[in-house]
Amino acid sequence: MEKNIIGIYNDEMLVAPAINQLRDKNVEVQDVYTPFPVFEIIEAMKLKTRFPYFAFAFGVIGFSLTFWFMYWTAVESYPLNIGGKPSLSLSFVVILFVMVINITVISSLIAFFIRVKKGPGSKAKYVADGINDDKFVVLINKTKTMTDDDSAKISEILRDSGAVDVQEN
């Protein structure tokens, strides 16, 4: 089982400076657990996501699939003569518009749950008490090369930066 050092904070504004200090000492922060999204922490951890690009791709796929389907059904498979109007109609745009949104929403949702590895029945990883309440928790993996001295230093940084509790397991 992996061993960790965790620093528990009461104030979210202390966490981002702590992450920066740890990075200065070449300590990698594995993750930070918070009751709400804190943009300073996301920035300090230099996290980025490519999610919007995926969403755009889903939109393009949705557009293509919907257009192909409408074209195949209403123009090729079974063209209906409705008052002599053309089968390939500009009013396709309404369904296209809605279906692009439909398909992008569903695909983005599925992509989100796959990426964060969560879903009905997933068990939450236990890190510390109060994460979904009022605690901000910095988690650092204890690597094999890390000596006791190193972990003591990390604990000290965490404490000095304002952690109310530092735990090792």
Binding site: F69, A74, V94, I101, N132
Partner: protein
């Protein structure tokens, strides 16, 4: 980083993060108050009445309604459009205000989204049941079939409706549920602490293993922005499409290009009216005055004043164009069958409730008197119902041919069907009060301190 205090504090009472969790989890964790059981019983009775009316309609046919050849759309379509309109508020609130980065939305969005979901479900019942042969409802889905294959008509506004409303329901429900996951995790953790096994099991299942990791939060926020950005145009398109059910026909009073914007703004108006009604109830009965402050109600009041002016403009424009167009049929519909004539009472009920009464919100004293605000919000709900009544009934009852003119009044079955959907809506909303955190605690915690404003 700067801090401009335009509105003052969004959450009152100097809450700590823990206090917010306590407050928001309390209705879920404690026994429901007595009024809740009474309200739930009444709503259930209403729902049962609706199920009875639905059963009668399906087993005996649409002949149990008061429709006739001329007025082929009655309360069914009126109530459908009314509910869809109400269903627009949640998304309008959550998404437009999310995109505009309006932080006061955090206290209201959850309830508004809940309302959306139940209102859209209530709305969906009407067109389904109006088909008469509901067991053939699946014919409206485009799937390869043995009837040709006979595909749906992609140029029909009625089919657009099916696609738009089902997409809207799906997107709104998704947006609502995803937002609730972190709060379910809070309740799960609290249940674990107190040893409530059943609650822990249920909310564990609902919370999808949420652990509050920053990586997940980043993707969560991005997902919220994507869903918000996608659903915002959907709000506009859904009601535009509903309006095209009317506008693409040739009925006098319907065949107008103003319909899509007029319907969209009307929908947002009625939705905001219902949000106001609901928030005042939540605030009062659950003592959430610190979360839904007078400032929130004041803001909704101001928005309603503005939308009410647009509504008035739309009404007046319609009347003006009916005269200016020189079309005698349009003139007849607006001047002889709405402003005067058999249905004048419905027209004035609509105009006074939607365009005149909300103008009282200009007065600050009225905006800050919760009782009057509540009464005005009810008037808006009623007024918007009359708007749909005016549109549907006046145009259909007296069209081009006087020989085809007919009167319409709903039957008991139709009325009960409407009562039933109100029951369904209330059962849903009351269930929401009891089992789901009424505010998005993670969003409220996020706006508690001005320090997290640096992204603006």
């Amino acid at each position: 980083m700067y801090d401009v205090k335009v509105r003052g504090s969004l959450i009152e009472g100097n809450k700590s993060y823990h206090q917010i969790s306590e407050d928001i989890s309390k209705p879920v964790e404690s026994r429901a108050p007595n009024w809740w059981f009474i309200a739930m019983s009444i709503s259930t009775v209403m729902l049962i009445a609706g199920i009875w009316a639905g059963f009668v309609t399906i087993s005996q046919g649409i002949g149990t309604w008061g429709l006739n050849n001329s007025v082929a759309w009655g309360w069914g379509i009126i109530n459908f459009v009314w509910w869809i309109g109400i269903g627009h508020a949640g998304t309008a609130f959550s998404i437009f205000l999310l995109i505009l980065r309006q932080k006061w939305r955090t206290s209201i969005n959850r309830a508004a989204e809940a309302m959306t979901v139940f209102a859209v479900i209530s709305a969906g019942i009407f067109p389904m049941i109006h088909m008469g042969r509901i067991w053939l409802a699946f014919y409206i889905m485009p799937y390869p079939n043995s009837r040709g294959p006979l595909w749906v008509n992609f140029n029909s506004p009625l089919f657009w409706d099916v696609v738009a409303i089902s997409t809207y329901l799906m997107a709104s429900a998704t947006f609502w549920y995803v937002g609730m996951i972190p709060d379910f995790a809070t309740i799960r953790d609290r249940a674990k602490k107190t040893g409530n096994v059943v609650r822990e099991f249920v909310y564990d299942l609902l919370s999808f293993g949420w652990d509050g990791s920053t990586r997940t939060w980043l993707r969560f926020e991005t997902l919220a922005a994507i869903l918000g950005g996608l659903t915002a145009p959907l709000v506009i398109s859904v009601h535009s499409i509903v309006s095209m059910d009317f506008a693409t026909s040739i009925m006098p009073g319907w065949h107008t290009t103003i319909f899509p914007p007029y319907f969209v703004i009307g929908a947002i108006f009625s939705g905001f009216g219902m949000v106001l009604t609901l928030m005042i109830i939540i605030r009062k009965l659950y003592k959430f005055q610190d979360y839904v402050t007078k400032g929130h109600l004041d803001a909704i009041g101001r928005i309603l004043t503005f939308i009410s002016l647009i509504m008035a403009t739309a009404y007046i424009t319609e009347i003006f164009i009916a005269w200016y167009s020189g079309s005698e049929y349009e003139f007849f519909t607006f001047f002889k069958n709405r402003i005067t004539g058999d249905y004048y009472w419905a027209f004035y009920a609509m105009f006074i409730c939607n365009a005149v009464i909300p103008q009282l919100f200009w007065i600050k004293k009225i905006r800050s008197n919760i009782t009057i605000v509540f009464i005005i919000s009810i008037f808006i709900n009623i007024g918007m119902w009359f708007e749909r009544y005016v549109i549907v009934i006046t145009s259909l009852s007296k069209d081009y041919l006087p020989s085809a003119w007919a009167d319409y009044s709903p039957t008991f079955v139709e009325v009960m069907l409407y009562v039933g959907t109100i029951g369904l809506f209330l059962v849903g909303v009351l269930g929401f009060f009891k089992f789901i955190p009424m505010f998005a605690s993670s969003e409220i915690k996020g706006i508690l301190k001005p320090t997290t404003d640096s992204n603006d």
